[in-house]
Symmetry: C2
C-alpha cells in the first residue's frame, strides 16, 4: 500500500460515502482511501514505508507462514465481524504451529457500492484486534469489483512468525496413548453466524468465540509440556480437525461425548437446525494432543487463562490403522465421528 503525500481537496465521506471503482484503480482515489481509511486505522511504521511491500526484521531458523481468505457472511455477527475474524484466524494458524505471530499482510476485495462507514467499522475492528494481539498489519492491497461481482468485503490475511529452536508440533505427531484436550466450548462461532442468518432468538444470545489464541498458546508452550500437536478447529469443527490429525499420524482416537464442552444454548440451536456441534466451526478454540502425563499440567494452565477457562480432556489417541475417530456416547454406545462429507455451514469464516 503506497499513498500519496498530498493533501486531498476533499476528504472521504466516511459517513455516507460508498466504495466506487476508482478506489481500486491505482490513482488518486485509491491513494486517498488508503491514507484516510486504511492507514488511519492500521498505522504503524512498516505500513508507512509506502513501497510495494514491507521490509521486516528477520530471524534465522524457521519462518512460519499461514494465509486465509475470509468470506464470512454476514459481515457483522454477534461477538465480532469479518475484520477481527480475519486477524484472529490467521494469527491462530501461525500460533498453532508453535510460532509467535509477529506480522500480518492484508488484501481486500471490495464490492462497488459498499458503504464506507461499514468498511471503516471493519478496518477499525481489524486494527483493534491487531493491537490487542500485538501483531501489526505491515502491508496490504485493495481491489474493487463491480456491484454484484463480490459480496461487500473479502479479506485475505497472511501471517508470519518464527519457530523457536527445538519446537516441533505437527498433525503427524499424535501417538497412541496421547491425551486429547480442547480449550473450551464447541460450536459457538458457527452457531452465532447461523442464529444471525436464520434470525433465531434465544434468551442468552450466542456469541462468536473469535479470539487470538497466541497468548494462551505461548503460556502453554512455556510450561515445557510435551505437546505433540495444536490445531484450531475452524471449518468442519472438532470432528474434521481430529480426522485430519488421525489421518496425518495414522492413528485412531476415542472421545468421551460427556466430556466435550458444548453450551446448552448452542446445543439447543444445533438441535433446532439439525446440526452436530462437533462439525460446527470455532474461531477461538484450541485442540491439543499431548503426552498423557502432561495433560493435567496443561489443563491447569489453560484454565488459568481467560480463553481456556472451560478446557477439558475429551479423549485419547489409540492405535487404529483405519484412522477412525470414535466416540463413546452419553448413552454408553460407540459411534464413528467421520469426516464432514457434504456442505454443512457455508461461508462461516
Amino acid at each position: 500500500m503506497s499513498a500519496s503525500r498530498k493533501a486531498y481537496v476533499k476528504h472521504l465521506d466516511l459517513k455516507n460515502g460508498r466504495v466506487d471503482m476508482s478506489h481500486g484503480s491505482g490513482g488518486r482515489a485509491m491513494a486517498q482511501i488508503i491514507e484516510e481509511l486504511f492507514l488511519a486505522a492500521l498505522d504503524n511504521p512498516f505500513l508507512r514505508q509506502g513501497n510495494d511491500g514491507a521490509v521486516l526484521p528477520s530471524e534465522p531458523g524457521r519462518l512460519v507462514v499461514a494465509t486465509d481468505a475470509h468470506v464470512v457472511s454476514p459481515l457483522f455477527f454477534p461477538g465480532g465481524d469479518i475484520g477481527c475474524l480475519s486477524v484472529h484466524g490467521t494469527i491462530n494458524d501461525v500460533a498453532v504451529m508453535g510460532a509467535k505471530p509477529l506480522y500480518l499482510a492484508a488484501a481486500f476485495v471490495l464490492e462497488e457500492g459498499f458503504p464506507l462507514a461499514d468498511l471503516k467499522r471493519i478496518v477499525d475492528s481489524m486494527a483493534a484486534a491487531s493491537r490487542e494481539a500485538g501483531v501489526p498489519v505491515v502491508t496490504g492491497d485493495t481491489k474493487v469489483v463491480e456491484r454484484g461481482k463480490g459480496d461487500g468485503v473479502f479479506i485475505t490475511t497472511t501471517g508470519f512468525g518464527w519457530l523457536p529452536e527445538g519446537s516441533n508440533l505437527g498433525g503427524e505427531r499424535a501417538r497412541p496413548g496421547d491425551a486429547v484436550l480442547v480449550s473450551g466450548s464447541l460450536g459457538d462461532h458457527g452457531m452465532a453466524i447461523m442464529s444471525r442468518r436464520e434470525n433465531l432468538a434465544f434468551d442468552s444470545p450466542i456469541e462468536s468465540d473469535t479470539a487470538a489464541l497466541s497468548g494462551l498458546i505461548q503460556e502453554m508452550l512455556e510450561t515445557g509440556a510435551d505437546i505433540h500437536c495444536l490445531r484450531d478447529p475452524t471449518r468442519g469443527g472438532l470432528a474434521t480437525t481430529l480426522n485430519e490429525i488421525a489421518g496425518q499420524s495414522s492413528v485412531g482416537m476415542m472421545l468421551q461425548e460427556n466430556a466435550i464442552p458444548v453450551k446448552p444454548v448452542v446445543e439447543a440451536a444445533c438441535e433446532f437446525l439439525g446440526l452436530d456441534p462437533l462439525y460446527v466451526a470455532n474461531e477461538g478454540k484450541l485442540v491439543v494432543v499431548c503426552a498423557p502425563e502432561d495433560a493435567d499440567r496443561l489443563l491447569a494452565v489453560m484454565r488459568g487463562h481467560p480463553l481456556g477457562r472451560d478446557a477439558a480432556r475429551i479423549g485419547v489417541v489409540q492405535e487404529d490403522r483405519n484412522g477412525f475417530v470414535q466416540m463413546e456416547t452419553r448413552l454408553g454406545g460407540r459411534r464413528i465421528v467421520d469426516w464432514l462429507s457434504g456442505e454443512q455451514l457455508p461461508r462461516i469464516c
Copy 2:
C-alpha cells in the same frame, strides 16, 4: 492446506465438474479438491506438510513481504490468465524491493458453479509460472461463495524473500539528476485486457506482458550499479508510479515523450478507446531510478535480457518542491503528467 490421505471413492470430474459450496466447507470434498486439483499441480514438500501453515527455512537480516489480491476480468486474456498473473504480480512486488523472491502463499475465493476445468487451467498456469520463476507456492487456502457473490476466481498471493545486506532501494531515494529508465514498451497488459473486453481485433493481437521480473532484476543488482528505486508500473501505469516516487522523494521529473516505448498497435488501441498509455497497467515492466553515470551500463544489461530488450532512458529526476512529473512532448511542448484522478481501467489485475 491440509488434505486427507484417504483415497476417494470417486475422483473429481475435472472435465465437466463445477465448484460447489461443499468444496469450501472444510470437509471431505474440500480435502479432495485440494488433493486432486491444487496439490496435484502445485506439489512441493512445503505444501505437502499439510498443517495450518508452512514452515520455511529463514534467514537473518531483513524479510520482504508483499501481498496482492487479483481480480482481473476476464480471467483468461491474450498472453496470460489470472493464474500466472497472480504469481508474476507478487514475485515482482518482492523483486522490486531488491529481494530474491523465494516463496508464495495463495488464497482462492471461488464462485459456486465455476467450471473445474477452468480452475484446473488457472492452477496449472500458476504452477508453470511458479516453476519457471523458481518460487513455490508453500501454503494456501480455498473458500467458496455462492453463485452471484463472486466472479469466478479471485486469487490473493503473498510473496517473501530476504534482502541482501547493504541493499537499499526505495521510492524515497530518487535524487535530482538521477536517470529514469523503463525496461520495455508500455501499456501492453492493460490493452490486452481491454481489447478482449471490447472485442477489438487487430492484425497483430495485443498480448499481455505478464512476466516475472526477478531474473532481470537479479542481473541488474549484480552489476553493482547505483540503483535508487525499482518499481513495476501496474495499476495506474507509468504516470502513477512516477508520481508516487516523486511524492515519496519530494522531487520532480522531466520525461521525453519520444523516448517512451509504446508499441504502435497499443498506441492505436489507446487512441481508439480514448486512453493514455502512460496510465495503462503493465505486468512485466520495470521502472528504474538510478545514478546517471550508471544508466548506460544498466541499459546494456537490461537489453541483454529477454524481458528488457526494448529498455530505454526516458527522463531525468529534477528538483521540484511541487513534486511535478512533467513531459516534453513530441511536438516540443511541455505538459504535466498528473496522477490518474478517476477510474481508468477497472479490474486490470
